[in-house]
Symmetry: C2
Subunit: 175 residues, 2 copies
């Protein structure tokens, strides 16, 4: 049996991703987590902690999805990354970044903001490393963010647009 903590985190992540952060009640979250209310509160002592646990779990899954088993040739990596973002959106979330959504739902939480910053920084860092575009972390992050947001309205068109912007990035990288 998978240990209880990750089972809870996985269930919470699914619930928040599917229904947003405002709507699901703690009892809904209990059902999604597949444990009793007492156990749920043992691992996540408040509803805010449930949000944090869900995002922490998603962070790990997102990094794996994007960066595992990338092609060796660095020129090919960028397109693959953008395609994987599109695939992630199609499978996991119909709308925007869950981390930004969590902060938007509760702008007063310092813990959420810190987690968001950490998540984005690590995505940008690993994207730059994987593509060889060191020093261009923020350019990469901007395209990735734009793709994530625009995908919900434009699907594959947004992916090809991100690829085009990414290629331009590599061109004037040499300059």
């Amino acid at each position: 049996m998978t240990d209880t903590k990750t089972k809870i985190a996985a269930g919470l992540e699914q619930a928040f991703a599917a229904r947003g952060f405002a709507e699901p009640s703690v009892e809904d979250l209990r059902d999604a987590a597949g444990v009793s209310l007492r156990t749920l509160y043992k691992y996540t002592p408040s509803r805010a902690d449930m949000v944090l646990a869900a995002l922490e779990h998603r962070h790990g899954r997102y990094l794996s999805h994007l960066f595992n088993d990338l092609p060796k040739a660095q020129e090919a990596v960028l397109d693959v990354l953008f395609e994987r973002v599109g695939a992630w959106m199609a499978i996991e979330t119909s709308h925007g970044c869950l981390f930004h959504g969590a902060v938007a739902a509760d702008p007063g939480s310092e813990g959420l903001r810190a987690l968001l910053a950490r998540h984005k920084a690590e995505v940008a860092r690993r994207a730059a490393a994987a593509t060889g575009l060191d020093g261009r972390e923020i350019d990469l992050l901007l395209i990735l963010e734009g793709l994530t947001q625009a995908w919900s309205l434009h699907r594959d068109t947004a992916v090809t647009s991100a690829k085009r912007l990414g290629h331009g990035l590599r061109m004037n990288s040499a300059a």
Copy 2:
């Protein structure tokens, strides 16, 4: 006296922008709108309608802020637009796009999704028209979205990054 409807919409917009969509109670919103509870419900018969009214108001203000009094020379317009986005974020919102935030807070609302789509489509359309980059609406939208999201973490660095990406866009636009 400004008419009651816009006074309410302006107050609601400020309240949601400052405190998110989940936290403020209807009584908080009443205080922000500066009217009585009865009048508030007369113009916006449910809390969901209050969200819609606030976003409708912001839509108009955002378009004015971005597109009024742009320079005549189209080559200069793109940079001005990105700077205005940065200025908007600094003044109006510390975090992300309010429209995306509203959808994230209540993913089930069809009305919100429709409003989001309309808002983004009009921003992209007018940005393309103002810059002369017709046919590149989605590229422009992707940069604008990326800038809006990344600004909260990287401030001016995100603006200069958007400018760089925008210039690349113009270059291979000739190709």
